[in-house]
Assembly symmetry: C2
Homo-oligomer: 357 residues x 2
């Protein structure tokens, strides 16, 4: 039975990328060696790395004022690395607490400076994106989490602030165009729209760096990675290779405008069914904040919850279970998930309502 | 033409592991999904992860007093993470400066406590392993680098000290048995004998942790990784998968005793030729310190250097060039390099001497 992979991450990758990646493991571009056993300083890997960086710049239309780095350690490492590089102990940063990951970022930032939580939906179990907050004038930056994988919410607007925005885009990076001029630092674990687990994209405005007084270990200093083209140490070669293949796929399929269009269409198909279906409810209270990446929903009672889980699995709809903090279901719909998979999910939901409604 | 891969790292992996890894990228164990697109919390990956940890414990005969972690960030991250977790600012650690990587470890440790360099061969361009040094009684640990990939030296003895040894074993981990009782912490980037680039094995004695006063970011606290089975955040799934496959291969091929025997035999074959051949010299001044992993050697003049480089390449002997700090050649011979490749190298050296001698 064909699997339809709704995994929240590590997540579905384009079928063509999977094939190319497997071939690269066997024999990279016919050189007689696997991509797993070549030096990171080989001309083959340097070409892969340079192409990955060039594709990021092209797809985002980035100027030279930004560094593009492929690091390791996941977004969780960026939770502390960003404030460590941008914030002195006596300085303030503004954070919005819009979900689990935002909350973890806040916790880590407190080790390095003053953190002002300017907005929060924590008391309401993060069922919406906080609004109408103010950023204090003295804040060095504003930290946002653009999409909340766990709770199914997403920013569909960007605040008007004078500070640079530092943004965790792990779960919606490369799913839509972004107004880069608002951002001082963007970080994203690869394992949603960009590649497999094991590397993290960091895009940072160079003029923001070098202003903290604390001594930084080499591996935690963005400038050292920039000066060494992300090769201060051995980078995660294979994860970066697969990111490059996926970025090629994004470009070949029309770039971020086309990704956004397809993601909007998939989400519309799904949410229309969700709103029409009497047996399910969305968990996000403000519909304007619904995520295009991770729609979350629950069945109206526990019996139907179990029955739908079984019905979905029987059709090859995989990894639909919601996070334990929300329960129910989560239909993660990253770039590589085809419309056909969403259509099948919607058909199964419709049929389920006919049978159990 | 068949390639013989002498890359210093990322390095050659067993041919069977490469094949299995490629199959896992296409379809993991027939589940209909790639290993690149499954959740790190899926039962498939948890089984992979648990098997990798169990194999490390079995192969090293490790007791429960040790934590086994698969982290990211490379050995370069461990350079600062080890002192950050083990050393208070007013405490002392002893370091031996036996090569480039040892030197970098010393630099990073100085950010976190007092570092006493008890032995160094830096003034002699690291052409031997320092001996006859003393560790001060107050030192919390002794840091060593077991094998120097750049300079071709290796410890073939372990000091008698009362302190736990903290050891960077990146380039000879799993190449030979080790007396675990001497070690408090061992770290090793995967990309030599263990797998592809992208994960780092950390083995740490649990009783050494939790004694530093400084607050630690979550991702830099060994205890948090231990408490979460290396899944505090999304781990590098594919690199860990390939490590598991390679550890299976090590076990199936007789474990560390057998690896050591094969590595000794390969090194003997090579060094015998090096010592007999009039056109080459080893770069390590104390033969007792010669590395079994990375023999380094130079031709007796520049003309022969270029001619041998061409002769080796013509036979498919790949990645033989030495590090820029040493020049000449480096024949890295990790576990997966077959005897046949070393035999061919020796044959080419012999023939070269007959032609140019």
């Amino acid at each position: 039975m064909k699997k339809h992979n709704f995994s929240p991450g590590p997540a579905i990758l384009p079928a063509s990328v999977i094939k190319e990646a497997a071939q690269g493991v066997l024999d990279l571009d016919g050189i007689g060696l696997s991509v797993l056993e070549i030096s990171h300083r080989s001309k083959q890997f340097i070409a892969i790395y340079d192409e990955a960086v060039a594709l990021v710049k092209e797809i985002l239309n980035l100027g030279d004022e930004y560094s593009v780095l492929f690091l390791s350690g996941g977004a969780s490492t960026q939770f502390f690395m960003a404030p460590m590089n941008l914030l002195n102990e006596d300085e303030t940063a503004a954070y919005v607490d819009s979900g689990t990951w935002a909350n973890k970022a806040i916790k880590e930032a407190k080790l390095f400076g003053k953190v002002e939580v300017v907005g929060s939906s924590k008391a309401d179990n993060y069922t919406y994106i906080p609004r109408d907050w103010q950023v204090p004038a003295e804040a060095k930056y504003l930290h946002l989490t653009s999409n909340n994988t766990v709770f199914g919410t997403q920013y569909h607007w960007w605040p008007e602030v004078s500070q640079p925005i530092v943004c965790d885009m792990s779960s919606d990076m490369f799913s839509r165009p972004i107004p880069m001029e608002k951002f001082g630092l963007i970080y994203a674990g690869a394992q949603k729209n960009m590649g497999p687990a094991g590397t993290t994209l960091v895009i940072v405005r160079k003029d923001l760096l070098g202003k903290v007084r604390r001594p930084l270990p080499s591996m935690l200093d963005y400038r050292i990675h920039e000066d060494n083209g992300s090769m201060y140490n051995t980078p995660p070669v294979f994860p970066i290779y697969v990111c490059m293949l996926t970025l090629r796929w994004i470009k070949a399929n029309g770039g971020l405008g086309a990704m956004d269009q397809a993601n909007q269409a998939k989400a519309e198909l799904f949410y229309n069914e969700l709103d029409a279906n009497p047996l399910f409810n969305g968990t996000v209270t403000n519909k304007a904040d619904r995520s295009l990446m991770n729609p979350t929903f629950v069945a109206i009672n526990e019996e139907l919850d179990k029955a739908f889980d079984a019905a979905a699995k029987a059709q090859g709809l995989d990894n639909l279970r919601g996070h334990r903090m929300v329960g129910g279901f989560r239909a993660s719909m990253y770039n590589a998930l085809p419309m056909e998979s969403v259509q099948l999910l919607v058909d199964v939901m419709k049929e389920f309502a006919q049978k159990h409604g």
